[in-house]
């Protein structure tokens, strides 16, 4: 009786397994691994031009004896109204089914960003294959397609390389953020403005997509992370660079590490301090219908280089440098803040903070927050500390 039951069950299992017949089974060598996606808008038709960067596994340097002369990536470009439509339409060009779970990079073309990029993000949320922690970049002065075409030195897969570039610079220089699709979606739904790192190309595409361009010490065409694209209501508004951009990062509490060149008594910008820790705290309060933003920044740094003869063994010299650090930080933050106010766009998401703390009050100002934000005042406090001066105390001196 019992064994009969068991055998019936086993039979059932086997039969249903046969039925299952591997619907979802896909062989690895039937897949084309997409490493990067670029989306541009075709101006006249309103369609999307979607570019896929596909890895050629046999030509990547990870394999022993990758002797094929193929390029490590191939590019497919497709026009369609929807992103998913484009994915499928790409089958006309690709020998294998495109596989998106490993897309490392999403490049939004400037043309698309200007017209609003919200709609193309839906598929990233909805699909289980596309990932939410894909890095997003906005192409600057060029289109997404060209960015994806260019080969990079060192990294055989350019999309991975670009993702690393974005991460690297945001971690040690702090002028541009590394933003993922998830964060972008969160910011768009949060209501305020936001910023995404820009990426630009030096040189031309034709040279950059040839493998030969990598055979020289300085690649013919190079891609670099450049500035932040400011979005207001999901549309690209303007670009910010330099101190303005770093100031914005400071307000957003996204500085992990950065370098400040400080003035000292005799020479300007001659002392390099590496900021290794920074924490920003924000409080928003409404007074007479206008917001006051209390921003407190605590930063700590190590002195890494000095070209001026400061006597670092003296405490008061260090104090002076710290004050200098505070001044410089303040200047950048204020610059960034004023730029945002001038543009009437709260891309620091200070509104969100206000909404969180005081939802009732927020309801009243929600509608024209950007205007109100532009009239708000900034109360900035910066505390800087220099923690270390490296392997030497006093700088070297030549006898006079």
């Amino acid at each position: 009786m019992k064994t009969k039951h068991l055998s019936v069950l086993v039979l059932f299992v086997l039969l249903s397994l046969n039925l299952a017949g591997c619907w979802n089974s896909r062989e690895l060598n039937e897949l084309a691994i997409v490493s990067g996606i670029g989306i541009d808008r075709v101006m006249d038709t309103g369609k999307l031009r979607v570019t896929f960067q596909v890895v050629n596994p046999s030509a990547t340097t990870t394999t022993q004896g990758a002797s094929t002369n193929q390029s490590p990536i191939s590019i497919y470009t497709v026009n369609d109204r929807t992103v998913f439509g484009a994915l499928r339409r790409a089958s006309k060009q690709a020998t294998r089914q495109l596989f998106f779970a490993h897309a490392q990079l999403l490049v939004i073309g400037e043309s698309l960003a200007e017209g609003g990029m919200k709609d193309v993000l839906d598929i990233f949320e909805r699909s289980h294959e596309l990932r939410l922690n894909t890095t997003v970049l906005v192409s600057r002065d060029t289109d997404a397609e060209s960015i994806l075409k260019v080969l990079l030195p060192q990294e055989s897969v350019p999309s991975i390389g670009l993702g690393k570039k974005a991460e690297n610079t945001s971690k040690v220089w702090g002028e541009t953020p590394q933003v993922s699709v998830f964060e972008t979606i969160k910011e768009i739904t949060g209501g305020g403005g936001f910023t995404i790192s820009g990426v630009r190309m030096l040189g031309n595409v034709e040279e950059g997509q040839k493998k030969a361009s990598l055979e020289q010490t300085k690649a013919e065409t190079s891609i670099l992370i450049s500035g932040q694209a400011v979005f207001n209501k999901g549309k690209l508004m303007n670009w910010i660079d330099g101190p303005e951009a770093r100031g914005a990062q400071w307000i957003l509490d996204k500085i992990y590490e950065t370098n400040l060149n400080l003035d000292s008594g005799d020479q300007a910008k001659a002392i390099a301090v590496n900021v290794v820790f920074s924490k920003t705290k924000i409080k928003v309060e409404m007074r007479d219908g206008l917001p006051i933003f209390h921003i407190r920044i605590n930063e700590e740094g190590n002195l890494n280089e000095t070209q001026s003869a400061v006597n670092l063994s003296q405490n008061h010299e260090i104090r002076k440098l710290e004050a200098e650090m505070e001044k410089l930080t303040k200047k950048e933050v204020q610059e960034a803040f004023q730029a945002a106010q001038k543009a009437e766009c709260d891309y620091f998401n200070l509104g969100n903070e206000f909404k969180r703390v005081n939802p009732a009050e927020w309801k009243k100002v929600e509608k024209d927050w950007n205007q109100i934000f532009a009239k708000g005042t900034l109360e900035l406090q910066v505390h800087a500390f220099i923690r270390a001066t490296g392997m030497r105390v006093t700088p070297l001196k030549a006898p006079e």
């Binding site: 062989e27 690895l28 897949l31 691994i33 490493s35 596994p57 990870t62 897969v157």
Partner: protein, 519 residues
């Protein structure tokens, strides 16, 4: 089936023919014995007359089963007494002679007198020497068993770095003594029985009275009594005959050839079954986790032992699920693999003509072939086979582009992992299950593996070994026993005996004694 029962009947009738009292007529009885054994050439019968007595005396023994020295001793003791008779009187009657031999003639080992013919055969075949005296319907049997047996040697299958080097032999009495030497306690009880209608194999149950669970013991005895087969040639016969669930890939009885392992298990309240003719002793009841423990765990320090034990469980999981998870990830869940690794794997698989599943199966089967081929061969050749098989075949297959290097890595890792399971029979069942799981993985991916694992655990939980839940002490959960299941805690934490059934906890004997001494 029918033929078997018929045979059994015949052998029973033969038994009843033999079973009759001795006649007292020496020639008759000898003739009977000769016939009973079919005039076998190893039956030795020696006649002689005593120096000062009339009655004919015959000594009977089986060559090879007996120790020649013993037999000679026995005979000379029985025969070479002085003509001086008891109380100065000459022995004349057969009875007197018989008594004299029985009382005075010293015999090595135990001796007894038999009156039944069937008893004679049993005694003879157990290596005893018989003395028959003309006119006495009784036989004197002295234990002279011996002959050529394998001496106690080092364990071949369960090797340990530290700990006793002895292992069991094929002789049951030696085996029992090996355990007794380790547990010098009167509570160590041994109950003999004979199993197998034809082979009449000596089987002994050994347990420590007061520690072994009475219920389990009763159940085991019942099960042993129920055995009705012609032959018991190895403990594996008994194992298969008394296990509760036949349709399971998992072994529900433990076997070992190490006396210290048996001793340890006896002290944990388990029962050992010795079978004559095999060095493998059965231990019951067995639980799942037992198969991952070795005696050496207790000889090394606890931290090392714990880590090694955990490593074994990890290896068990790898050897069970390794290839399946690899196939599932490769075919169903490519998104799970980190990008650089995926690109790497993809480039390896570029030229491979087979689906990953077929590749895995192929490699697994190849591996099994190499293993099976290596196991039966003498060890020098066996090593050659594994080198040719493993190195040459693997390397060539990869270079020829028939399999991807990653698959070779996975399969060989699985293979090596399966060797870490100390119990060979558990490793065997994993070997079998691995294929099932790979097939399921190829059809349903991780979901299939998860469901199959659930069913496997449910199956394991449904098993019982002589009434003790197989998955104990994890399911049913016993917090006390956790000290010696997945981990091995320091010995002074393990004063309480593991509970085998739902019984009151017995404390370790030493504790009891110590308390007794203090009181």
């Amino acid at each position: 089936m029918a033929a078997q029962t018929k045979e059994k009947k015949q052998s029973q009738t033969a038994d009843s023919n033999i079973s009759s009292p001795l006649s007292g007529n020496l020639e008759d009885d000898l003739q009977h014995i000769r016939q009973g054994l079919g005039n076998s050439m190893d039956l030795i019968i020696r006649h002689f007359k005593m120096i000062n007595a009339d009655p004919q005396v015959a000594v009977i023994y089986m060559e090879g089963l007996t120790d020649k020295e013993f037999v000679d001793d026995f005979i000379s003791h029985a025969m070479s007494f002085q003509s001086v008779s008891e109380e100065g009187r000459k022995l004349s009657t057969s009875q007197e002679v018989f008594h004299y031999i029985k009382e005075k003639a010293l015999t090595p080992g135990k001796s007894q007198s038999l009156t039944d013919r069937s008893g004679l055969f049993e005694a003879l075949l157990s290596g005893n020497t018989l003395v028959l005296v003309e006119g006495v319907p009784e036989a004197l049997s002295g234990d002279t068993s011996g002959g050529e047996v394998r001496p106690v040697s080092e364990a071949g299958t369960q090797v340990s770095i530290r700990g006793s080097k002895e292992s069991f032999t094929e002789t049951i009495s030696v085996n029992i003594s090996l355990v007794r030497r380790r547990i010098k306690n009167p509570d160590l009880w041994v109950e003999p029985m004979k199993l197998g209608a034809v082979t009449q194999t000596n089987v002994a149950i050994m347990y420590i009275h007061g520690i072994a669970d009475e219920d389990v013991l009763k159940k085991l005895k019942e099960k042993l009594k129920e055995i009705r087969v012609d032959s018991i040639l190895e403990s594996g016969y008994i194992e298969q005959l008394i296990e509760g669930t036949v349709y399971t890939p998992f072994p529900t009885l433990y076997n070992t050839e190490r006396p210290d392992s048996v001793a340890g298990n006896l002290l944990d309240g388990r029962i050992a079954v010795f079978v004559d003719g095999t060095p493998f002793v059965l231990i019951a009841p067995a639980t799942f986790f037992m198969f991952f423990h070795t005696v050496e765990d207790y000889y090394q320090r606890f931290d090392i032992s714990t880590l090694i034990r955990l490593l074994r469980f990890l290896c068990f999981l790898i050897s069970m699920f390794g290839p399946a998870i690899f196939v599932a990830a490769l075919n169903f869940h490519q998104e799970m693999i980190p990008t650089p690794l995926l690109i790497n794997l993809a480039s390896q698989r570029e030229g491979v003509p087979f689906p990953a599943f077929v590749e895995a199966l192929m490699m697994e089967v190849t591996f099994e072939i190499i293993r099976e081929a290596g196991i039966r061969l003498p060890s020098p050749i066996g090593q050659t086979v594994s080198i040719i098989g493993g190195l040459v075949l693997g390397q060539a297959a990869v270079q020829a582009g028939i399999v991807s290097p990653a698959m070779v890595i996975v399969v060989s890792l699985t293979g090596i992992s399966s060797f870490t399971t100390p119990a060979f029979n558990m490793a065997l069942s994993v070997r079998f299950l691995r294929f099932v799981i790979v097939i399921v993985a190829a059809f349903m991916g991780l979901y299939g593996i998860a469901i199959l694992a659930l069913m496997l655990v449910a199956h394991l939980c449904s098993l019982r070994s002589l009434g003790v839940p197989y998955m104990s002490p994890l399911g049913p959960f016993d917090p006390q026993a956790q000290k010696d299941t997945l981990i091995r805690s320091p010995i002074h934490f393990m004063k309480i005996r593991p509970r085998l059934a739902d019984k009151s906890i017995a404390r370790k004997k030493a504790d009891k004694d110590r308390q007794g001494n203090q009181a």
